[in-house]
C-alpha cells in the first residue's frame, strides 16, 4: 500500500518534526502535566524516542498519531517518577497477595458504584483523563504499557503480544489486571459512588 507522500515525508524527515508536530504534541503534553517546561521536555523525549524508532513507523497511522502514542507513554512515565518513591513497589506485590476485589466466594468485596460521567462534557472528559493518567502511573509499568497500547492506541491483542513478547493468555490477564486496578483507582479518587 503506498502511503500518502506528505505523511511519509513528515516522519522520514525529522528536521520538519518541530514545525509539523511540535505545537500539537506540546499542547497534548500540557493538557496533562500543566507545566510548560515539563511539556517541552516531554516533547523532546518523544522526539528522541521517535528518532530511535523511526524505522518502525510504517505509515499504518499518521505521523501525528504515531508521535502522540509515544508521548502518552512518556507522560505516564513522568507522572510515575513524580509519584513513586524509589524504594516502594507496593503495587507489584499487591497483585500477588490475595485479591482485594473479591471475597473467598468470588463476590465483590467492595461493590462497584455507579459512575456519573457525561462523555459529551469536555470538562468532565478532561478531569476524567487527568485521573486516568494518574491511575495509569500507579500501575506496574508493564500493565500500563499493555493498557495504553490496547485502549489508547487501539492495537489488537495480537499486535501487543508481538510487541511485548507475551502470549495471548498473558495479554488478557494483564489487561484484566490493568482494568481492575484502574477502575478501583478511578472510583477511589474521583467518581463519587452511589451504592
Amino acid at each position: 500500500m503506498p502511503k500518502p507522500k506528505t505523511e511519509a515525508a513528515g516522519i522520514e524527515n525529522p528536521e520538519s518534526w518541530v514545525d509539523n508536530y511540535g505545537d500539537f504534541l506540546y499542547r497534548f503534553a500540557l493538557a496533562r502535566v500543566k507545566d510548560q517546561s515539563i511539556a517541552e521536555d516531554l516533547v523532546q523525549e518523544t522526539f528522541l524516542a521517535a528518532l530511535r524508532a523511526r524505522e518502525n513507523f510504517q505509515g499504518q497511522s499518521t505521523g501525528r498519531t504515531w508521535l502522540t502514542a509515544i508521548l502518552k507513554h512518556k507522560i505516564v512515565d513522568h507522572i510515575r517518577k513524580k509519584i513513586r518513591e524509589p524504594s516502594t513497589d507496593k503495587i507489584e506485590t499487591l497483585t500477588d497477595a490475595s485479591d482485594p476485589d473479591f471475597d473467598d466466594r468470588g463476590e465483590w468485596s467492595i461493590r462497584p458504584g455507579k459512575w456519573v460521567v457525561n462523555p459529551g462534557n469536555l470538562y468532565e472528559q478532561k478531569e476524567f483523563l487527568d485521573v486516568l493518567y494518574h491511575c495509569l502511573a500507579e500501575l506496574p509499568e508493564r500493565l500500563a504499557e499493555a493498557f495504553i497500547k490496547r485502549e489508547m492506541e487501539g492495537l489488537s491483542t495480537e499486535k501487543i503480544c508481538k510487541e511485548l513478547g507475551i502470549t495471548a493468555t498473558n495479554s488478557w490477564v494483564m489487561l484484566y489486571r490493568a482494568r481492575m486496578s484502574l477502575r478501583r483507582c478511578l472510583e477511589n479518587r474521583w467518581l463519587s459512588a452511589e451504592t
Binding site: 525529522p14 528536521e15 518534526w17 518541530v18 514545525d19 511540535g22 505545537d23 500539537f24 506540546y26 499542547r27 497534548f28 500540557l30 493538557a31 517541552e40 516533547v43 523532546q44 522526539f47 528522541l48 528518532l51 530511535r52 498519531t65 502522540t68 485479591d99 476485589d101 473479591f102 466466594r105 468470588g106 463476590e107 465483590w108 461493590r111 462497584p112 458504584g113 455507579k114 459512575w115 460521567v117 462523555p119 469536555l122 472528559q125 478532561k126 476524567f128 483523563l129 486516568l132 490496547r150 485502549e151 489508547m152 492506541e153 487501539g154 491483542t157 495471548a168 495479554s171 488478557w172 489487561l175 484484566y176 482494568r179 481492575m180 484502574l182 477502575r183 478511578l186 472510583e187
Partner: protein, 90 residues
C-alpha cells in the same frame, strides 16, 4: 465447565470479551449473570467508560488548548536537539 459463574469469574470474562470473542456458551452465561447482577453490570459500564475516554482522546484531542504553543526559543531548542541526535541515532 459450570453454568453459574461468580462475580470474579464474570469480571474476567467481561474484560476478556473486550479483547476477543468469547466462546458462545461463555458469552450467554456472562450475559445472564449481567442481567441478574447489578454490580457486575456496573463494572462493565465502568470498563466501557474507561475505554471510551481513552479512545476519545485519541480520536479528537478536542480538549487541547489552541492558544498554547511552543515558544520560539523552545522550537529552536528542539530543532537543535534533533539535529544533534540525528547522526547518533541513524
Amino acid at each position: 465447565m459450570h453454568w453459574m459463574y461468580n462475580c470474579k469469574e464474570v469480571s474476567e470474562m467481561v474484560s476478556e470479551s473486550m479483547d476477543r470473542a468469547l466462546p458462545f456458551y461463555q458469552r450467554v452465561l456472562m450475559r445472564l449473570h449481567l442481567l441478574m447482577c447489578k454490580y457486575c453490570a456496573r463494572y462493565r459500564e465502568q470498563l466501557e467508560t474507561i475505554r471510551a475516554a481513552s479512545r476519545y482522546e485519541q480520536l479528537h484531542g478536542k480538549e487541547l488548548d489552541d492558544s498554547q504553543a511552543l515558544s520560539n526559543d523552545g522550537k529552536e531548542r528542539l530543532k537543535e536537539f534533533l539535529k544533534n541526535h540525528l547522526t547518533d541515532t541513524h
